[in-house]
Symmetry: C2
Subunit: 368 residues, 2 copies
Amino acid sequence: VARKLVAMDLGDLRRHHLSLVLDHLVREGPRSRARLAAETGLTKKTVSALVADLIDRELVEELDTPRPGTVGRPGTDVAAAGRTVGGLGLEINVDYVAAYVLDLSGEVCVRHRSDGDNRGVPTDRVVRRLRRLAMAALDAAAARGIRCAGATLALPGLVDPTSGTLFVAPNLHWLGDQGDAPAEALRLAGLDAVRADNEANLAALAELRFGVGRRLSSFVYVSGGIGIGAGVVLDGRLLRGAHGFAGELGHVVIDPAGPPCACGARGCLEVSDRSPLAVATALRSLVHLLDPEAVVLGGTFATLGEANAGEVARHLDRLTLGARWHPSLAVPSTLGADAALLGAATAALDRVVADPTIVPILNEEPSA
Amino acid sequence: VARKLVAMDLGDLRRHHLSLVLDHLVREGPRSRARLAAETGLTKKTVSALVADLIDRELVEELDTPRPGTVGRPGTDVAAAGRTVGGLGLEINVDYVAAYVLDLSGEVCVRHRSDGDNRGVPTDRVVRRLRRLAMAALDAAAARGIRCAGATLALPGLVDPTSGTLFVAPNLHWLGDQGDAPAEALRLAGLDAVRADNEANLAALAELRFGVGRRLSSFVYVSGGIGIGAGVVLDGRLLRGAHGFAGELGHVVIDPAGPPCACGARGCLEVSDRSPLAVATALRSLVHLLDPEAVVLGGTFATLGEANAGEVARHLDRLTLGARWHPSLAVPSTLGADAALLGAATAALDRVVADPTIVPILNEEPSA
């Protein structure tokens, strides 16, 4: 680490520190500069200078209300700024396209959704529909004073998170023959390249940041919609797999004599009756292989609530080898049907959190 | 990290540096002090002092042969010492018990194995058999000048790696009703507590250190014996799961209408015909969930060789969603049937590598 720091120039170091402070405020909420210093290990003087920089970029704001028992500036809390910089989350799914704008304070400021069956519709037509929706969302955000710093697209299939290429989305009947790259095709004016990721991965990211995942070190988020996917979080990090394909729970076979699936196999979870027993039957393989702390049931499974989750857990207890010593934990997600969009917007905002200097300081004289 | 170093006392720092140098020699092989300094980021003076300390403990030795083109001490390679300190690897499996002594140079110096069916035999009788074998192995090692610094026991079931408790080993018909702790029961004279771990996990560790796993960042080692297990390695680290139960590939169900398994379910891989198709059918779930870089086929599967592995990969290509873009990679292990024992001995030796000061300096005057 010492050698790494030597290789870092001062600009890198400052960016790293700005990111450290902003990330801490985004995750942990408003707090005083003194507390920020204590928690990040930076000096109070450094923290004050970093906070001043972040305020100049409108990424951090001072809260008006001093905390009880404190007087003046040292006790004034600072917070990640609401309604200044946003992340644009986009989604193409089987029966809708949607756009979401999330600000740094964690507030969802814009929600646009357009229903309509996308199965078998050519990619470029769906992309055109989503582009219109995204532009409307950016306009609505701008009307509230929010500039979006990035965009991420959630897709229901195998995605290369580096290139954004969608390899295959069986439920959309997009078989990737043409090397679809819907994120690249979006080309939103005023925004950098749109990134893409699997919808269950992004939903798991939202669960990790805002949901029950905050209290878990490892969990599997099960995304239930027309398709079924999973986002696997181990040690607080998303498992992507060697090629970005991890988490395809929907194509775990629960009965080789079952009905045919769009992927070519038979008896995948995705084409099962989705009863608690059928879900637990697929999760049995997952639990035996990964031994997660908990299973978080999202999407349509979340709407079935605690009773359904409890029934899944009871079946798992009967079906898995280790349950006698560590009973299964299955809980419904509290993030509702929008978890993937929330995760996509969070991922988009994370680009600012990772490097706050991509947001320019307002009113700064441009150098000649 | 800076704060952590401040909290470390000088003894901790020295232990950390000794471990860094010894670990580098164990993994990377013999090299000069100058090269060690360049590769570890320590100064040449520090490396020389650390190597001298490790030589005093007989953990490192100077090689006699200077490398071509070099003269005298600066060019003399140093190496992790052979035949001084060893790790004792032990195994209880369905039809044998075994003991292995591995030295720091990576040489297996002692191999003892005693065949005999352990199914349904009371734990304490099997432990007594293994203790006799272990004592004989320690004697044989001592006769070669090797003191064992620790022991690790490989078990074919669910093991808590912290306490060493064996929860259940279905193929041994040990159902864990009495809270079996065979590692604790071993009590080998002159050795600290014996640690225990799942056999497939330990085999995966050996594969990571000595086998094809050296070249892979993520892989699944499939352990084929009377039971079937898996050791999952992600980013070069063993996936243990939330309770130490990850990798139970043998109990992934491939046909819910299949024959009954000792675990209580039907149609687990373990009770299948183990043809390449049946193995690929279980691996399909694993590949869809984890997306590993490769599958390493060990134990009895390894003896079936390249042709069998190739057939498993071809079935996987047909059965998995992502194979069209990233074809499946399945290779036989080169470590043979002893992979778990080799991993157990490696884990035992790792205690010395992690803290070389647990081995005393010979001929040092004891303080009054």
